[in-house]
């Protein structure tokens, strides 16, 4: 039990640093441009957070379980296309959303099949899947996308108190639910176990392949719901949407303390990672940097996040080693 409390202490300290970093970033851009904290700007940050947040929930859980899905952006986009196509065919809204969710589940199952049955590394097979979905979506929509209209748009365009967008609320609810699942349920603990030590997990009666399947399907479903919300927000299911979704989600997760080695991290840090990421990217626009600079910044931020993770891990190792030496002396 003592070990666990030490772990939470580290996580808490990490989230504190992260919160300070996010505050500094926000303050910096506010000083550079007062419009950065205007109602519109805050809304657009929250909107951006809603998509990358949904994807980050799924990706965090995959990373904790030691896997990755680089097709998550494409799955979100394709989920949106499925939903829009179903709506265009005259289906009721709930049916269209369920169709998208079903697609997400199937996409997750396909990934899990490759990883579990054929032993292919998840990063490379999901790159292939990403091309498949992207090409199909362009082909099926004639590269133009599918427009949506009517009551469905309320899912994306309404806002609580006129400021907090509905997709953001949905994302926040997902974050809270999954924080609970990860911390307090058997399946949540099983995900940490297979990510931390697969062989040990198996010995304690966890079936790693089953858990892997669950986290992939879970990721596909969450991504598809994210895609549905994006479609409602944008009024169109665009095959070019969410192209950098996987990278954003990975960056947010890793910034938030989810370890790439698996077995560590949680949802609380993930939220602050998201805030930091999206505030930073929106801030670049606020200071009038060219649009394409965002691409560079996203990649650079991912590199920085991973470097910070490395230095944190090394610091921890050094502390443990120092403590061990102390003990040896005694």
């Amino acid at each position: 039990m003592k070990k666990q409390s030490a772990l939470t202490a580290i996580l808490k300290a990490k989230s504190l640093t992260l919160t300070v970093a996010a505050a500094v970033v926000i303050l910096f851009f506010y000083i550079m441009n007062r419009e950065f904290l205007s109602g519109n700007s805050i809304r657009s940050i929250m909107n951006a957070m809603s998509l990358s947040g949904m994807l980050a929930v799924g990706i965090s859980i995959l990373l904790i379980g030691g896997e990755i899905d680089l097709a998550t952006g494409a799955e979100a986009m394709f989920g949106g296309v499925v939903c829009a196509a179903a709506l265009a065919a005259g289906m009721p809204i709930p049916v269209a959303i369920i169709a998208a969710i079903l697609f997400g589940a199937v996409a997750g199952l396909i990934n899990a099949f490759f990883v579990n049955v054929l032993n292919i590394m998840s990063f490379i097979v999901t790159i292939g899947m990403s091309s498949i979905y992207t090409g199909l979506a362009y082909y099926l929509t004639n590269a133009k996308g599918i427009n949506v209209s009517g009551a469905f748009l309320k899912l994306g365009t309404t806002a609580l108190f006129g400021i907090i967008p509905t997709p953001f609320i949905v994302m926040a609810v997902f974050l809270v639910i999954y924080a609970f699942i990860l911390r307090y349920t058997d399946i949540g603990r099983a995900v940490y176990m297979i990510g931390g030590n697969r062989a040990a997990a198996r010995l304690t009666g966890v079936n790693p392949k089953r858990v892997t399947t669950i986290v992939f399907v879970n990721n596909g479903v969450i991504a598809a719901i994210g895609g549905v919300l994006l479609t409602a927000r944008m009024h169109v299911a665009n095959p070019g949407a969410a192209a950098s979704g996987a990278l954003d989600a990975i960056a947010a997760s890793v910034l938030g303390g989810v370890s790439f080695a698996g077995g560590a991290g949680g949802m609380g840090g993930c939220f602050i990672g998201l805030l930091l990421l999206n505030a930073f990217i929106n801030g670049l626009m606020a200071v009038n940097l060219p649009t394409y600079f965002q691409l560079v910044a996203q990649g650079a931020l991912l590199i920085i996040a991973l470097s910070v993770e490395y230095f944190n891990a090394r610091g921890r190792q050094k502390r443990v080693a120092a403590e061990a030496r102390e003990l040896m002396k005694k």
Binding site: M121, M129, G135, G299
Partner: protein, 332 residues
């Protein structure tokens, strides 16, 4: 001797598959596929991918991967184009571009060696950075390339038939095949891929080799980008990014598996021909351009499945490669 015979048989299988593929595509396209003009087209369009396949193949034999080749090559070609448009001679522009490619490769290797990044995520981030830089270099507008020497290299043909770009790629394959099979350097690449720990104990320096191989991948990507630019007469921010994973696909199709330590450059060449034939046949058969993206993804996955079924060993990344090797050796 045993290993050599195995490699021969693998090469033979690949060749047989390629022959079957050519026959099938020939029949499907009413023999348009095997016309001389079309074969030249295949060779010319695959020349860009060929250079990427050599770089990716060498890295994958050592157990690494570079997902940034597309971005790096595009960025470097744009640098070259900008320099040319400012009146810099072609060789200086090309050298600068190759140097930039080497720097990008070294940076990826630095992230992997010094900061313990997983190769795929380090290079994925680099892909994003270099693609963004490519847009910034050209401000999202294409730059025309008028340099006569580069246009000659990109477009001219020997005996009005064999394009120079194809010759460059064939020379590259021959050099790297010799380098990998006949030299101490090549053997150390195989050893590191097969068992990094043992190779370190045997006195090799895996980190140094990682720097060399990533620099090599960056340099080849850069040349590939310049080759495409010279052939098409313009450099733009899309560049070779759509061939981002083609080099890897060709290498996997050619029998270089993800675990490292096996496969060969000769196999990658056959893999390249398979990929090139496939892409060309898709165009000849009138497959929608967007569906070709889908087909490229499907081909990569097909290659991975074949690799998985033939290798029959754990590649899931979490288990150390050396363990999979040890299991295999114990079984023999």
């Amino acid at each position: 001797m045993n290993g050599k015979r195995f490699l021969m048989s693998k090469t033979f299988t690949l060749l047989a598959f390629l022959a079957l593929l050519i026959l099938a595509f020939g029949i499907a396209t009413g023999w348009r596929f095997v016309e001389l003009v079309n074969i030249r087209n295949i060779l010319q369009t695959t020349s860009v991918i060929g250079l990427l396949a050599v770089g990716a193949g060498a890295l994958m034999i050592a157990g690494y991967i570079d997902l940034s080749a597309g971005g790096v090559g595009t960025m470097c070609a744009l640098l070259c184009a900008v320099m040319l448009s400012r009146g810099v001679p072609w060789y200086a522009g090309t050298l600068a571009a190759v140097a930039l490619g080497i720097i990008a490769g070294l940076f990826s290797a630095f992230l992997i060696n010094k900061l313990n990044f997983q190769p795929f995520i380090a290079t994925l981030a680099m892909a994003q950075v270099t693609e963004g830089l490519a847009y910034l270099i050209c401000n999202a507008t294409p730059i025309p390339v008028k340099d006569p020497v580069l246009k000659f290299i990109g477009g001219a043909r020997i005996f009005t038939y064999i394009p120079y770009s194809v010759l460059i790629v064939i020379i590259a394959f021959v050099i790297y095949a010799i380098l990998m099979n006949k030299t101490k350097f090549g053997r150390s690449v195989y050893l590191i891929g097969a068992n990094p720990e043992a190779s370190r104990l045997a006195g090799l320096n895996p980190k140094r080799l990682t720097y060399i191989l990533f620099a090599n991948s960056g340099a080849l990507a850069s040349i590939a980008g310049i080759l495409l630019m010279s052939r098409s007469g313009t450099a733009n921010a899309t560049g070779i990014t759509k061939n981002q994973f083609s080099g890897i696909t060709a290498a996997v199709l050619g029998g270089i598996s993800f675990g490292g330590g096996n496969g060969g450059i000769a196999g990658a060449f056959i893999g390249l021909l398979i990929l090139g034939s496939f892409n060309n046949a898709m165009t000849l058969l009138g497959l929608d351009a967007y569906l070709q993206t889908t087909a490229a993804g499907a081909l990569l996955i097909a290659a991975l499945i074949i690799d998985s079924l033939t290798a029959r060993r754990t590649l899931s990344g979490k288990k150390p490669r050396s363990k999979a090797k040890a299991d295999k050796e114990a079984a023999q």
